[in-house]
């Protein structure tokens, strides 16, 4: 498989890229910092059984004008892009966001608007080649409005909604849309936060995401237990949600 990954330099994107490289898939990495991209390319090359060099291009989620060129570069390097994975996003706690409107605006714009715009670029390209897979990281935070993730969750809810619509609209055209909803995963993004019960490890999450890509599973909770957790949370009446801290 030939895969371009936006966000491969860090966290779950890194873990997914490694898993793919390790089993011989051709990977192309997209990210913001040239130095970080070079380090990740080298790492993926070492993970590849044939020691295949891994290409990279700059792509900044904050700057949609970089999207087309980045995807062009991926196509040029891989020959054909069959799958695009998007793990890039930013995170901030609700308390931080409430104090900082600029940051709130940035988070909403990157995690929703710009992510959707990036996906639209990908959608066109994949449909043009007769189909392919678009795998995007949303979050369990988007499943229900909750106290600790009011703003972050709102952006993710919008993203999940968009991805679901995309799946409905283009499944027949061969577009496989995979919405990943991670619960708490111990990565650099969540460093400094106390892990709740059921916190996942990036490697395990990556394995379930890659399995979903292979099978075309439309929605993946990772770790899987979060499907159950969210089912319960979504069923709780409003008066309880107002009381509890999660």
């Amino acid at each position: 498989m030939r895969v371009a990954i936006l966000g491969a330099t860090q966290g779950m994107g890194r873990a997914i890229a490694r898993l793919l490289a390790e089993r011989g898939d051709q990977v192309f990495v997209l990210g913001i910092e040239p130095e970080e991209l070079a380090r990740t390319s080298a790492d993926l090359q070492a993970h590849s059984p044939s020691h295949m060099p891994v290409g990279a291009a700059l792509c900044d989620l904050a700057d949609p004008s970089t999207f087309a060129a980045a995807l062009d570069a991926a196509e040029a390097d891989l020959g054909d892009v069959e799958c695009v994975v998007v793990t890039a996003a930013i995170f901030a706690t609700q308390d931080t966001l409430e104090e900082d409107l600029d940051r709130t605006e940035l988070l909403l714009r990157l995690n929703f608007t710009n992510t959707v715009v990036f996906c639209e670029h990908v959608r066109r390209r994949l449909l043009q080649r007769g189909g392919g897979t678009l795998c995007v990281f949303s979050s369990v935070a988007g499943d229900r409005g909750r106290k600790p993730v009011v703003l972050y969750g709102a952006a993710k809810a919008g993203l999940s909604h968009y991805l679901e619509g995309l799946d409905h609209r283009h499944h027949e055209d061969g577009l496989r849309v995979i919405t990943v909803k991670p619960g708490f995963v111990k990565t650099g993004m969540t460093a400094g936060l106390k892990p709740p019960p059921f916190a996942g490890e990036p490697v395990a999450v990556a394995a379930s995401v890659v399995r979903a890509i292979d099978r075309g599973t439309p929605v993946v909770y990772a770790p899987g237990i979060w499907r159950l957790v969210m089912l319960v949370i979504c069923a709780l009446p409003r008066f309880i949600m107002r009381k509890v801290g999660f």
Binding site: D43, Q45, V149, T187, A191, K194
Partner: protein
Amino acid sequence: MAGLGDQGQTIAGWGNIGVPGHEVLSERLERASADAVLSRGLGRSYGDSALPPPSSREVLGTRLADRILSFDPASGRLRAEAGLSLHELNRLLLRRGYFTPVTPGTQFVTLGGMVAADVHGKNHHVAGCFGSDHTRMVRLRVADGRILEVTRESHPDLFYATCGGMGLTGHILEVELDLKRIPSPWIYAESRRIADIDEFLAALAEYERFPYVVGWIDCLSRGRKMGRGILDGGRWATAAEAGAKPLPKVPSPSVPLMFPNWVLNDLTAKAFNTLYYWKHLAKEKKGLRHPDSFFYPLDMIRHWNRIYGRKGFTQYQCVIPEDSGRDGVVRFLEALTAMGGASFLCVIKSCGPESKGTLSFPRRGTTIALDIPARSGTQALVDALNRVLLDEGGRIYLAKDTFTRAEDFRRMDPRLEQFQAVRDVWDPERKLRSAQSVRLFGDPE
């Protein structure tokens, strides 16, 4: 999700004796190390080497910074971020014919940790230590904030103080070394059941024909049976011996929860040791062994440290110098068995010459390592063992230690002065410190 802070968290070494504090993980060590007092890898040092000093309560966790930055299949030269684990390295490269020149008894360690503890392994008698004898370069963030590429040529004092320096000379960001080519991924091993300490010491010498040697002794048996055990020797199997057999994946069950403290007592320890001894029914065994079971038998049971319960345990590892000879080892074992520190595991091996690492643990002689459950008498037991050790002129291994007293350590390891002199140059204010350096080296809290 909660915010930053301690939140009543504790952080512990492998011995599960915790202090208040927590670890902040980062994928970007260069950024995260700017204000940190100490880096911590996978937390496999037993004692307080990777624990924060009381006033700071926070260490930088490196295990997410684990990228391979370059690897040359032709020469085996590898450069990686300090948080890369040996487990991951072996998973990727053992099949492809590369192995670390020196491995400790667990693969759940990071490259940075291996340099910081200047780890040794079953091949110490021929290969020396991981840091001082095999590491080519460490990229180090020193206390004043600078980032240096440190080699034995560029900064000899700093390099050798860093190898075995327990992370106190700077934050190790990257490590470069040459991996060894191996003829097959299998080990050809011989093992022998040994009746007493004299036979053991003789066999240890005889087994030095193997590059990898380690012995296990039943340190609960006294008298005639004192020092009975099993000795393991091995080398990489040749391609012809190994055939085309691929390495199977070894299952690793986990100890799911802390055992109650009473589970480990003199009786169960004795039963375990007797069983382990007689499990090796044949006097001698030969054949191919999986490298995981040969190098990392304890890794097969994840979280095995939980069998010691909530109170935790310590490992006492010392080296008895060659000058003390057979009698020195016997005196130590006699003292140990007389004091009766119930130990599931007691490991013995011969060490080769001392490496250049300023505080590097091994020196020519016999090293003995044993696990001691933490109980009310543990401090007294360690003090007593240290008195015996001081008489023999031996020393302890910092990566294992929790209970040694500062004055005892100073007497055991006069090299400390030299180490502190290097720190005086690079970190006169002792910005970088650990719970252990406060306890043993007199660093400010």
